[in-house]
Amino acid sequence: MLVLISVKLAIYDTFATSARAPNVSDIAQKLTAPIEDVQSAFDELHGKRLLVPEPGDPTRIRMAPPFSGVETPFRVTVGDQVYYAPCAWDSLGIAAALHADALIHTTDGHTGEPMTLLVRNGAPIPEPCVIHIAVPAAHWWDDIIYT
């Protein structure tokens, strides 16, 4: 359990401080822990829906929500750091997780019109927009990358 918590915190700390996804090797080195133990923790965190591995490579992270390990249409600027979020919900989630103001650049999902959201002093500034979730809650994790 101690390894699991340490790995979880190390993954999220890496995302928060560097805006990039660590892999199993990075975390093993950071924690001075055996690679096998860290891989097991990655697998368990996936089971707990705290991490999504890169398809075909369980040593790498596609996302540790709200953070994405790859560039997406949801670009979130916090201070001088630029993060990417898997979806609209998670783009706000980065501001919530970091307890920080954030500027979100994205586009209208249909027209491609550039859109921005601003989170300031703990809440988003009102902006004409709606969020559409195409998949029912019971099926979000059937294919979370699509969701």
Partner: protein, 76 residues
Amino acid sequence: MLLFRSEETVGGWCNARGLPKRPLVSLDQVWVLAREWYENRLTVDSRRPGSDEMVDIFARIGLTGPFWDPKSDRRG
């Protein structure tokens, strides 16, 4: 989970894909969801809300029905 300028552009996105239009979520509602899911995510005790907790959170902000039930066997 995409952002749209308006309900009309949501309709355009759904029509282009032959997908049904689902309940729309406002910015204020999704901010509540973002906080509930993530404001403690960087802490030792962080975890994803369980199914029953999710139902409660959704209900608090008016998101009810089978679409929002993580245990539903219906497509919503």
